[in-house]
């Protein structure tokens, strides 16, 4: 949608205006959680498990309690008097029992076992070191490979599969298509574990203000989401919870909602009755905060003789750790894998695995592996087929002319432009000249490489998941004529106070300096999940525009009334109201506001006094951002070091509110992507001990690792109000494949890069250059076949209607947890009919009976349009079977006869 001009002539949208946040942050006046001190405040330190798995035999706090400055030491036995239900980001109870402090067992090194309250953090740490915990240590499950075969991490589960979707076996037709294709690439990528590592660690200051009143200062991604989470988790009325987070030092997914430590501090503050502060130190942050990525995937992809995609299969696994923030098989990897490509057939198996390591949390572009493995597989295929990497993308990408079009998962594409971004990029980069330079350099023993990647990213999502709501803008023109906006947004560096003010100033016709945006306090503004899913520019931007337009109408209505002019003749510019053709009637917004608030007698009939407006904007379900990136590297064949020489981003992020903010988001994401490819690694030893405990071990990119980024703006406005597209995560998604492809290109004279594991350390690069195993881990882990949940087994002897007919209680195991239903079967020869009743209602079906095997189809609308194919075996009074859920694979069924 093209944005019509605002009320005024001042244009702030698209301008590189200075940020409103910066003066306070540059002068040390920011307000981060550790900057808050409350009267009577005490400090918390945790006693943490030194073993990855085991039973707690005893906890002795006697000596620690006697230390100076110590007020209390709490274990789970003390905290559990105040019940708490740990929740995922979607407010769903954790799939396995999870308590803020360990409840009898520990499941990862660093798990909090006890909490010390003392006058100072130093005294709390002193005392924590004197708490004696006796463990019966067990052998841990650390890696995905361990999880496949090791004992269950949790006593309550039968295996270590935390979540699963897709098909255990490759469909026959798909297997045939893969086998028959002229070209086929089987590509395995292993992604290391990453620490989100925001510069401000986690922290909370919790104070009980009354029996059920709680104030939290907490570093988070949305004070609204934290308030809602805490209210559900603790069973408190949300009205009693105030959450304040004015400035947050980065988050990147980690601080979506409280986890064990924050929750333990909140519960302890409720019990102890004094304000308690816990500020995570960096050692805790690196070793005991939740982490992310650690994935393995094999993509099997086939092409025709022209390099067109024919079919693909993906087998994906992600380490969920012991207590993920929602057990996750990351189906989004598959949903977005081919969303921008023309691929006839795709199937997958996707699983999340429990292990004795810190839990999985979100990180910028949680599904990003799809772009990494797809884009590197495409380059590998292009080399095999003998076509250029650019050409293979041109032949397979969905172009504007191909739309509207549905993705393999039924998402509607109307305006994605990765192919167009690629063409725009190529107008800024002379590939032929580079290839000449590369050939010349190779003759001198210098190895240059060029990498491309293209992708689309779902942004601004709303309406499909509980926390992913619209955004609210509440605007006032104050009696002073200045504008105050209370937004549901939250910035952890995003600059939303700036971009929202730009939109509001632009649409209202006032000076940017005269707009102040408030956020960071759940009692100001309505619910939103804050910075999650690249949404704020898209959705809150739309809300700011809509609310501004409502308010502008009010201004013009009142001004027209006062001037006895038509509303169309009223303009607002620079905070002044002008009436066309009547310059003498110009007045300031302040004069108008004074009348609107203070002189009700002068208002038009029915006009609500004051100048206020609000709007909650719910955008289209998803807004896609597209991009193509290119980078040039030089790989040193002597040392294995990679130097990035050039990087170009060609991005379609719709209407750009502030280019400096947009480029800042892209650059920050790219830097994190570069860190993932070259530097960052959070390894664990065989006993589950973290091997990166400081920033000397966990290597974050420094200024010398990051090149100057160049930007090609290939923007087309989106369908959302204002035309914005989200840009928060893209750099972290497209950065890694772009860089890996460049390195692979540089390594071409040495046979190139095939399967790979990140990070591509110098020794791993030298594995390729020298053709021998220097790193010690040259062969990436392969996705070994595993014993799968049992499939429907061979049919025993035929059974009569008496054994089939009746009422059955059935449990379906789905990725969302067990679903109970009641089935009634009536057989008639080879036909069977009946009803299936679940929480969603009752549905009739008709199918076939073959021996003791019942098969029927049922179409459902929720959670999405799907045809479920039931395949059930009756064995006496029990049944087993599966329901195939389209591309999402099969769900196991088990049941018992409850009536005839």
């Amino acid at each position: 949608m093209n944005l019509p001009l605002g009320t005024g002539a001042a244009r702030y949208i698209g301008q590189r205006v200075l940020r409103k946040e910066d003066p306070r942050l540059l002068t040390g006046r920011g307000q981060f959680v550790d900057d808050i001190t409350l009267p009577g405040m005490l400090h918390v330190a945790f006693v943490r498990s030194p073993v990855a798995r085991g039973r707690i035999l005893s906890i002795d706090t006697a000596e620690a309690r006697d230390m100076p400055g110590v007020h209390a030491i709490y274990t789970w036995d003390d905290l559990k008097v105040r019940p708490v239900q740990m929740l995922s980001f979607f407010f769903a109870p954790t799939e396995v029992p999870c308590t803020p402090l360990a409840d009898g067992r520990v499941a990862y090194v660093g798990e909090p076992v006890a909490l010390v309250i003392a006058d100072s953090r130093a005294e709390a740490e002193d005392a924590a070191s004197l708490v004696v915990v006796d463990y019966d240590e067990e052998d841990p499950v650390v890696t995905i490979a361990d999880a496949r075969h090791g004992p269950p991490v949790h006593p309550t589960t039968e295996h270590n599969i935390a979540a699963q979707m897709g098909d255990d076996e490759v469909d026959e037709d798909l297997a045939a298509a893969l086998a028959a294709a002229p070209y086929r690439v089987r590509h395995t990528v292993r992604h290391q574990r990453i620490s989100q590592a925001p510069m401000e660690t986690r922290g909370v200051l919790a104070t009980r203000d009354g029996p059920e009143e709680l104030t939290l200062y907490i570093t988070c991604q949305s004070p609204h989401l934290v308030a809602r989470w805490v209210s559900v988790a603790l069973g408190l009325p949300q009205s009693a919870i105030r959450v304040i987070a004015k400035d947050v030092g980065g988050s990147f997914g980690l601080k979506n909602h409280p986890w064990k430590e924050e929750t333990a501090v909140i519960v302890a503050a409720l019990l102890f009755g004094r304000p308690l502060k816990w500020i995570e130190d960096r050692y805790e942050a690196l070793t005991a905060s939740n982490q992310c990525r650690e994935q393995e995937m094999t993509l099997d992809v086939a092409f025709d003789s022209e390099g067109h995609l024919v079919a693909a299969h993906g087998d994906y696994s992600v380490n969920n750790g012991a207590y993920p923030q929602g057990a996750d098989a990351n189906v989004a990897v598959h949903i977005f894998m081919w969303a921008a490509y023309k691929l006839p057939a795709y199937a997958f198996l996707t699983r999340g695995w429990y292990s004795n390591t810190p839990g999985l949390a979100a990180y910028r572009g949680p599904w990003a592996l799809e772009s990494l493995i797809r884009e590197t597989a495409l380059d590998r295929a292009a080399r095999q087929i003998g076509i250029d990497p650019i050409e293979i993308r041109r032949r397979n990408l969905v172009r504007l002319a191909d739309q509207p079009r549905s993705t393999p998962f039924g998402m509607e594409l109307t305006d994605i432009t990765p192919a167009e971004c690629l063409e725009a990029l190529l107008r800024h980069f002379d590939v032929a000249a580079f290839r000449r330079e590369q050939a010349e350099a190779r003759t001198q023993g210098r190895y240059l490489g060029l990498g491309f990647a293209t992708y689309i990213e779902p942004t601004g999502s709303a309406g499909s998941m509980a926390p992913m709501t619209g955004e609210l803008a509440q605007l006032r023109i104050e009696p002073t004529g200045k504008v105050t906006a209370t937004m549901s947004t939250h910035s952890q560096g995003h600059g939303t106070a700036t971009t929202m003010a730009q939109l509001i100033a632009d649409r209202l016709g006032v000076a940017y300096e005269d707009v102040t945006v408030y956020e960071g306090d759940n009692t100001r503004g309505g619910f939103s999940p804050g910075a999650a899913g690249s949404r704020q520019g898209v959705i809150a931007g739309g809300a700011a525009i809509k609310a501004s337009d409502l308010l502008a109408d009010k201004v013009r209505t009142l001004a027209a009334h006062l001037s006895n002019a038509s509303i169309d003749s009223v303009r607002v510019e620079g905070g002044m109201i002008h009436v066309d053709g009547a310059p003498e009637m110009s007045r300031s917004l302040k004069e108008l506001a004074e009348i609107a608030y203070g002189e009700p007698g002068r208002l038009p009939p029915g006009f609500e006094a004051g100048l206020e407006a609000q709007y909650r904007y719910t955008p289209p379900p998803v807004t896609f951002t597209s991009a193509a990136h290119a980078c040039v590297v030089e790989v040193c064949a002597e040392t294995g070091f990679v130097k990035i020489l050039r990087w170009i981003s060609s991005e379609d992020c719709g209407t750009v509110i502030n280019p400096a903010v947009v480029e800042g988001q892209i650059a920050g994401g790219l830097a994190q992507g570069i860190g993932q490819v070259l530097l960052e690694d959070m390894p664990y030893d065989a006993r589950g001990n973290p091997k990166a405990a400081t920033f000397k071990d966990y290597l974050l990119p420094a200024i010398s690792d990051i090149p100057d980024f160049e930007y090609v703006h290939a923007n087309t406005p989106s369908q959302s109000v204002g035309g914005m597209r989200g840009v928060g995560e893209g750099g972290a998604i497209i950065g890694p494949p772009t860089l890996v492809n460049a390195i692979a290109d540089a390594l071409e004279p040495f046979g190139g890069l095939a399967d790979f594991a990140l990070p591509l350390t110098p020794s791993r690069i030298l594995d390729v250059v020298e053709g021998r195993n220097i790193s010690g881990d040259a062969a990436p882990a392969t996705t070994a076949p595993v014993a799968e949940p049992e499939a429907v087994t061979a049919a025993p002897a035929s059974v009569g209607p008496a054994q089939v007919d009746g009422t059955w209680q059935i449990v379906m195991s789905t990725p969302m947890g067990p679903q109970e239903m009641t089935a009634r079967f009536r057989s008639d020869g080879a036909a069977v009919s009946g009803e299936l009743e679940s929480a969603e209602g009752s549905q009739a079906f008709a199918g076939t009976l073959d021996g003791n095997r019942i098969r029927f189809d049922l179409s459902v609308e929720k959670p999405m349009k799907l045809t479920l194919k039931y395949d059930i075996l009756i064995d006496g009074d029990s049944l087993t079977g599966k329901a195939k859920m389209g591309m999402f694979g099969s769900a196991k069924l088990s049941g018992q006869r409850t009536g005839s």
């Binding site: 003066p23 981060f32 960096r282 650059a667 974050l700 420094a702």
Partner: protein, 167 residues
């Protein structure tokens, strides 16, 4: 084990004002500045000397306040990020350059970056672009990809050259 003499009297000048307080022997300068003196613009990012967020100026030199003890800074003149701007709010040239170049997002690492650049550009210093960029390699920023920090450093080096030319 004998009881350590736990408290030391600390006397220092912070941002032009005298500050007297007490600190344990083990208290870092960073903790002292934040907790005892109330200069919360000093940010502790790693407490092991890598990230640079806690950098302050002690007797003219940029120092990681997490690696210096408060007792070591006794009697010193200390400048924190709160002490750079003019009393009327006019930003220090380093702060101004950082602002113009969008060199920050979350702002947590920012005070350290500002203090290192301020120390290196103070007075008659004429740091080269390479010197400033090399010094920036001692600061970790997780948000910006260093694009604005690099531009600000280049701008400050250019300004130093221009001053030199004019002199």
């Amino acid at each position: 084990m004998s009881e350590p003499a736990s408290e030391f009297r600390i006397d220092m000048t912070i941002n032009g004002r005298r500050h007297t307080g007490t600190a344990e022997a083990r208290t870092s300068l960073g903790d002292f500045l934040r907790g005892d003196a109330g200069y919360t613009g000093v940010h502790l990012g790693c407490e092991h000397g890598v990230c640079g967020a806690c950098t302050v100026i002690v007797d003219g030199r940029a120092v990681r306040s997490c690696l210096m003890l408060a007792v070591q800074a006794n009697g010193s003149t200390v400048t924190t990020v709160e002490g750079l701007a003019e009393p009327d709010g006019t930003l220090h040239p380093v702060q101004q350059a950082m602002r113009e170049e969008h060199a920050l997002q979350c702002g947590f690492c920012t005070p350290g970056v500002v203090m290192t650049l301020a120390a290196l550009t103070a007075g008659d210093a004429e740091p080269s672009e390479d010197e400033l960029l090399a010094a920036m390699s001692g600061h970790t920023c997780r948000c910006t990809g260093y694009q604005g920090i690099r531009r600000a450093a280049k701008k400050l080096a250019a300004a130093a050259r221009a001053t030199e030319g004019a002199a």
